[in-house]
């Protein structure tokens, strides 16, 4: 079983095709949608984890590419140096996905890797430079 994280960009016309339904039914993939934004302009963005047999993942990706959807596989990773973090919260101001939130009890930063879109905004927003973006994927 393999798992990859992808962003899919649709043009307005493609939105009607039930992409995730086909991925689940025809390619036996588990699709976990992490973020969906189809309201913005004419382009819809879907961020999802795809899990299943390697072969099925590859065929599934081919199928969506065939529909004219722009698919990108995340090959970067966010590294949080937790032991150096001062828990100021500045990064939570820019995180678009809710991956970075303050724990309301002890006011420490929490990082939910599953929700991370690897947008890199926190890397620049962190004043003490403990958020890093790397090239070697998960």
């Amino acid at each position: 079983m393999n798992k990859i994280k992808v962003t899919m960009r649709f043009s307005a016309n493609d939105i009607t095709i039930p992409v995730t339904y086909h991925l689940v039914k025809d390619y036996d993939l588990m699709v976990n949608i992490l973020n969906a934004d189809i309201s913005l302009n004419k382009i819809g963005t879907l961020v999802a984890d795809l899990a299943g047999e390697q072969e099925n993942i590859e065929q599934g990706l081919e199928f969506i590419r065939g529909l004219g959807v722009d698919v990108r596989i995340f090959n970067k990773n966010i590294i949080w140096e937790a032991d150096k973090c001062i828990h100021c919260g500045a990064c939570t101001a820019v995180c678009p996905s809710g991956a970075l939130v303050m724990d309301k009890t002890d006011w420490s930063l929490t990082f939910d890797r599953e929700k991370c879109l690897i947008c890199g905004l926190c890397v620049k927003a962190c004043p003490i430079n403990v958020m890093n973006i790397t090239d070697n994927g998960e």
């Binding site: 001062i86 828990h87 100021c88 500045a90 101001a93 002890d106 004043p127 003490i128």
Partner: protein
Amino acid sequence: MAHKSLEEINEKIKKGIAVVVTAEEVIGIVDEMGPKKAAEEVDVVTTGTFGAMCSTGMFINFGHSTPPIRMTRVWLNDVPAFAGLAAVDSYIGATELSKTRGMEYGGAHVIEDLIAGKDINLYAESYGTDCYPRKEISTTINKSNINQAYMFNPRNAYQNYPAACNMSDRIIYTYMGTLLPNGGNVTYCTAGCLSPLINDPEYRTIGIGTRVFLGGAQGYVAWEGTQHNPDQERGENGVPISLAGTLALIGDIKQMSTRFIKAAVYQNYGISMFMGVGIPIPILDEDMIRKTAVKDSEIFTDIVDKSGHEGVIRRVSYAELRSGSVELKGRRVQTSPLSSLKVAREIAALLKEEVKKGEFTLTQPVAGLPRHNTVNKLEIRGNSNE
């Protein structure tokens, strides 16, 4: 009404029997016992804050070389320091940028590296005099081979601070963090009910000469801070609604710890320094226990548009800001802190232990902080300006 003198409180601290609590803990105690009883029980309330404070810097004396130099221009790790003082005295400000690395490294990093025990490159120039013939020097310094090195921070521990948003249609990068367009987020920057001057809003116990926790060391209040503005509008509890009192603080960097002082870089804005400040407040009477028991729901500030379009948008309490979202022009918007409540709590707790153990005794101010002052604006005078 019961009244305790500072001497009595210090006597109890020395005997190890003083009752010391943090400014968060005191809230529950007063709720439970009422202020009268609580004022008798509690002797000291400790406060803490850990936030970016730009008006921060360090005096340093390098010692004399042979032959000696009267330094007129000084760089530390390529960051310019002020040298218009005696031969080997200098001052480096936290926000000064490196000549070679720009916004990536600056005065705050030099100070943090020095505290961490690292070697710092010193380069200085001079025009040479009969008594100071050397014209140039290049060497390394660290905290054990220099003479005095102490922070002298002209403005720390702002009593309150406006929260920020951005009503323009583009993202802006500010000292209040990254602000999203169209009022997309709100940032705020105080420790609220733990913050030192919020707990002594009328400066009854904090004044010139007060011993404080500064960056892990014991430091002192040297003076009122720059832009000290005690005449700011206040709530019924005496707590100012916006920018008000400030403190100028001094402390020996050789005693400090990088856990409580940290260089910071704000994207497209520049460099600042997280300073850890904590002040113990003696509970002299019922008035002081009431003041220290202030809650986040009773401390207010304004949300200000940092893009300069709209000014003050609305007033909020720190309890609302801490809740994670506030209403802004009919929409719920996420709020994010910029100062670390976690480390502020750590400072208040550490100070509590130090006072309990008798390692930190309280001081009577030598002189009070001004209760009235006008903050002037800089007018553009003369006709040489366009």
